[in-house]
């Protein structure tokens, strides 16, 4: 790729380096060639821009992929960088300190499948990432972009998981971090962000309020890379790796059905993009798949729009224990509707009690302790199969995107010791709990 001058279409430009040079180095974004608007398809040069200068539509990365083979990928590292050729990152990405996320386990979920009457069920367990959620994937790609743009501050608005991932990745990269969270966030997520150092700011308001503030700051401050604002096109690409991994771990084929949590909706749309790219590159057969979205009822604007047959999403004020999904004004909501309808899937929502049930069900059947978002997907999986929307005979993958240790309160009052006894065999037998 030739060297290009950074555009100045939206958002501040990164700070120049010591020489005052604002040019990107050759190959800074791998096989990515431009930014393209998802709405009007206008293109612009790669830069720290996220909204189309023509119509405000979201920008995403356009590529000119070379031939990519399964052998090349399989010969790569056991993390997301095995897919470097398919991401907007340079070929030397592994040489700079990062969290090396990805290649998390895909578990054959026979017990859960039997319980739900699904013959061929898998759990993609992304709690195994370095900060215990899928956010390490997207942040790793955003960090690369921030480096290439010469950004001096690595920042985000977050519902918690992203806060963990940004704070940790920034620490590892030696970059200043500033993380904004709603002031009602679960305490474990506050601690697991603050422990990495950096600046953590609690904002009096909802996630949507925090997000708005971040958008305003991103428009004013020089040199800030807000991972999910002005470098969002790069960041979002990291979620494609969930789709790549599922296909590779299934033996280079696409699952017939996937159930994915929906917050902003970015992850779901990028898994779809990942599947599509694998097909177009000839890495998997072009077999049909259905994508299902999962929301908590207390924040279900996309599910509501799906059920009402709308193609726009009406924002809501969130009220759910699934705080990591509590985005009332989801940026990619309309695209979730497009993807789920195009593939023959659906978007469904579940109550907080069903979320708790889902967490316990997955833990009890497969030994996987999911964060509330995982409870949402498992509960939604159950609802979809019970309502006949999901085919119990089709190979199905359900996503767990975070670790239950982050949201202990969700089930704290539901679980505990069967008995508290004296340390004697007589007391044990008298308790009769085994």
């Amino acid at each position: 790729m030739s060297t290009s001058v950074l555009p100045s279409q939206n958002g501040p430009q990164p700070a120049p380096d010591a020489s005052g040079d604002r040019r990107l180095r050759a190959g800074a974004f791998g096989n990515a060639v431009h930014l393209v608007c998802r709405e009007c398809r206008a293109t612009q040069e790669l830069g720290p821009s996220y909204a189309c200068s023509e119509c405000f539509g979201p920008l995403e990365i356009g590529y000119d992929f070379p031939e990519v083979t399964r052998a090349q990928i399989e010969g790569g590292p056991k993390n997301i960088w095995r897919y470097q050729a398919l991401l907007p990152v340079p070929t030397d990405i592994t040489s700079s300190p990062n969290m090396e996320p990805g290649f998390t386990r895909l578990i054959k979920a026979g017990n859960l499948g039997r319980e739900l009457g699904i013959r061929n069920l898998w759990v993609k367990d992304d709690s195994g990432n370095p900060t215990h959620s899928f956010k390490d994937r997207v942040v790793a790609v955003a960090l690369s972009a921030a480096r290439e743009f010469g950004s001096t501050v690595f920042a985000c608005p977050s519902t918690g998981n992203l806060a963990n991932a940004v704070a940790a990745a920034g620490a590892r990269a030696g970059m200043k971090t500033v993380v904004f969270i709603p002031d009602n966030l679960e305490r474990p997520k506050v601690i697991t962000t603050a422990v990495y150092g950096g600046t953590l700011i609690a904002v009096k308001g909802s996630y949507d309020d925090v997000n708005r503030l971040a958008s305003e700051i991103a428009g004013e401050e020089e040199g800030w890379a807000f991972v999910n604002v002005n470098v969002r096109p790069y960041y979002a690409e990291g979620s494609k790796t969930l789709g790549y991994e599922v296909a590779e771990q299934l033996g280079w084929r696409l699952p017939q059905q996937v159930v994915i949590p929906v917050a902003s909706g970015s992850q779901l749309t990028k898994v779809d993009k990942g599947f599509s790219e694998l097909v177009s590159l000839g890495l998997v057969e072009d077999t049909p798949y259905k994508i299902f979205g999962a929301q908590a009822h207390g924040c279900s604007p996309v599910s509501a729009a799906f059920k009402d047959g709308h193609d726009v999403v009406r924002p809501v004020k969130p009220d759910t224990i699934a705080k990591s999904l509590a985005i009332g004004n989801p940026a990619d909501g309309p695209y979730v509707l497009d993807v789920t309808r195009r593939t023959g899937g659906a978007v469904e929502d579940v109550t907080d009690e069903e979320v708790r049930d889902g967490i316990q069900l997955l833990a009890r059947t497969e030994g996987v302790f999911a964060e509330t978002a995982g409870g949402v997907t498992v509960a939604t999986l159950r609802k979809l199969v019970e309502s006949g929307q999901l085919d119990p005979d089709a190979e199905t993958v359900v996503f767990n995107t975070g670790d239950g240790l982050k949201t202990l309160d969700a089930v704290a009052d539901r679980v505990g010791p069967a008995a508290t006894i004296e340390p004697s065999y007589a007391a044990f037998t008298a308790a009769a709990v085994v």
Binding site: P12, A51, G57, V229, S264, P334
Partner: protein, 91 residues
């Protein structure tokens, strides 16, 4: 009614680089008309041909998203702050 309007970077080509400008009007619709008078072309970037706020633009009066209020009919009291912000962020 005189209000203050915060302009996103993407629209500052219309406002000579100004990040905050003044406008008049008792409703958001009137404020946008006032903006258009001062900065021709800007209104069409915020509302579509049908006259509704574009899908990927959020507009706030004070701290409230006007989609939760009366959209373009939302009242804009004297001294109110109107903010126009790209919607594609977060998650």
């Amino acid at each position: 009614m005189s209000v203050s309007v915060r302009i996103p970077t993407i629209l500052r080509t219309y406002t000579n680089g100004e990040s905050e400008v003044s406008a008049d009007g008792g409703t958001l619709a009137a404020v946008l008309d006032s903006l258009e008078q001062s900065y021709p072309g800007i209104k069409g970037r915020i509302v579509d041909e049908q006259g509704t706020i574009r899908r990927f633009v959020n507009v706030y009066v004070g701290n409230d998203d006007v989609r939760f209020l009366e959209a373009l009919d939302t009242t804009t009291p004297e001294g109110a702050q109107v903010s126009v912000i790209p919607a594609v962020a977060g998650g």
